[in-house]
């Protein structure tokens, strides 16, 4: 799908169409929530959020275009979060005594 995102030449219609697609995805996300999918539901929902983010980043925030430094920065935030999520899980996935008990007493 080629779409002009350079603001000097961009047309409104493709953006409106993509806006409708975003809303449709949003609807799908709600539908998923009410189906009995168990642990699959959040995975699908966050997958949808990721797709929507990609649309916003690439088209609405105009990453589209020749490879540039902006791509590196757009991705690196998420990349760094992988460190946080991934390495923390080495601890949380098998720490003794996690999840914690509840501790009502405060001195």
């Amino acid at each position: 799908m080629t779409m002009e995102t350079d603001p000097r030449r961009a047309r409104a219609l493709p953006f409106v169409l993509w806006w409708l697609i975003l809303l449709a995805l949003f609807g799908a996300s709600i539908v998923v929530a009410f189906l009995s999918l168990g642990r699959l539901a959040p995975i699908i929902q966050f997958g949808i959020a990721a797709i929507q983010t990609a649309v916003l980043f690439i088209l609405f925030m105009r990453l589209k275009g020749p490879p540039s430094l902006k791509w590196v920065f757009a991705v690196s935030g998420f990349f760094w979060l992988l460190f946080l999520f991934g390495l923390s899980m080495t601890d949380y996935s098998n720490r003794q005594g996690w999840p914690l008990t509840h501790y009502a007493k405060r001195l």
Binding site: L100, T101, K105
Partner: protein, 315 residues
């Protein structure tokens, strides 16, 4: 016990000997590295000072040869240290089933110890020599850290969970005990002593502490007083899991997970039963977190552990 200027701490436990050896090896390596670096620097600084007439021809700017060699050598050395240290860490931090199990409650700013026979002490811990001592530790408030330098053991005590630690003292004496995690105003005085005694001395010391019920017996009283027995007793009509022989077994929970019934598990079940519903049982157990404190729960844990092992109960 100490010289006027102490250089080296006591080494008074099997754990300490192992850690000490590793530490000495690392000291040696560090000295080697420092001597190499300082030596090179001094030699170069003298030989190639501005006024010297040494030849500067054929300057090397980059030799990947050299760098790769140096990098590989350091990496290999580091890996040896890593494996050595990690192996020992696993050994240090997987507490075996000890000869004696002592409960430790950390509270700002004191260490409260409870022996299996019900003897209690504050900021002091009496243990027999050459026995594996297992500590089960809880905190009443903030994070503390149990540290005995002479044994080279340390573990943080995080509120909301139980931590275990073990040591096996091999020298009779009195050793320094400290909290190494800052815990507020009097953190510096949250210190005490560990007294390592011979077996007979320890036995005598235990009897001199006055008559006590054992920890498990105290737990049993709590077990009845708080109505636990109403559901968990053999004769109860309520559908609740039996606790006889529970300790150390695998428990299948409602949410599909499997947990080992260790101290932490029992502790957690009492404080937060809803999160640990056993498969096949209704989630009807009330939350006891408002009624029991850490000390009480440790007694209950001791009691429930004794249910599987009648001989311990008699002790």
């Amino acid at each position: 016990m100490y010289h006027w200027i102490p250089f080296w701490p006591d080494t008074a436990a099997t754990n300490a000997i192992a850690v000490n050896n590793l530490f000495i090896a690392e000291l040696g390596l560090s000295a080697l590295i420092m001597v190499t670096v300082v030596g090179m620097m001094v030699v170069f600084c003298i030989r190639y000072r501005r006024g010297s007439s040494a030849s500067r021809a054929n300057l090397t700017e980059t030799t990947w040869h050299f760098e790769v060699g140096w990098t590989t050598a350091t990496l290999a050395t580091f890996l040896v240290l890593f494996v050595w240290g990690a192996g020992m860490y696993v050994w240090l931090y997987q507490a075996p089933r000890g000869d004696i199990e002592i409960y430790v409650v950390a509270k700002r700013w004191m260490w409260k110890m409870e022996h299996p026979g019900g003897q209690r002490e504050i900021d002091a811990l009496h243990v027999p020599v050459d026995k594996t001592i297992r500590l089960v530790m809880a905190s009443e408030d903030v994070i503390h850290s149990f540290f005995v330098p002479a044994f080279r053991v340390k573990h943080d005590v995080v509120p909301g969970t139980l931590e275990t630690l073990w040591f096996k003292a091999d020298k009779i004496g009195t050793y320094f005990l400290a909290c190494t995690q800052f815990c507020g105003l009097q953190h510096a005085t949250m210190q005490g002593k560990v007294v390592v005694m011979s077996g007979p001395d320890y036995a005598r010391w235990l009897t001199q502490q006055g008559v006590h019920e054992s920890l498990a017996q105290q737990g049993e009283e709590l077990f009845r007083a708080h109505g636990c027995s109403g559901c968990h007793d053999k004769n109860s009509t309520v559908h609740a899991p039996s606790l006889v022989g529970l300790y150390g077994t695998m428990v299948h929970l409602q949410d599909g997970t499997v947990r080992v019934a260790d101290e932490t598990y029992i502790h957690d079940c009492i404080f937060n039963p809803r999160s640990f519903t056993v498969a096949g049982y209704p989630p009807i157990m009330p939350d006891f977190s408002g009624q029991l404190n850490e000390g009480d729960v440790l007694k209950l844990v001791a009691y429930i552990k004794s249910l599987g092992h009648p001989e311990e109960r008699a002790k």
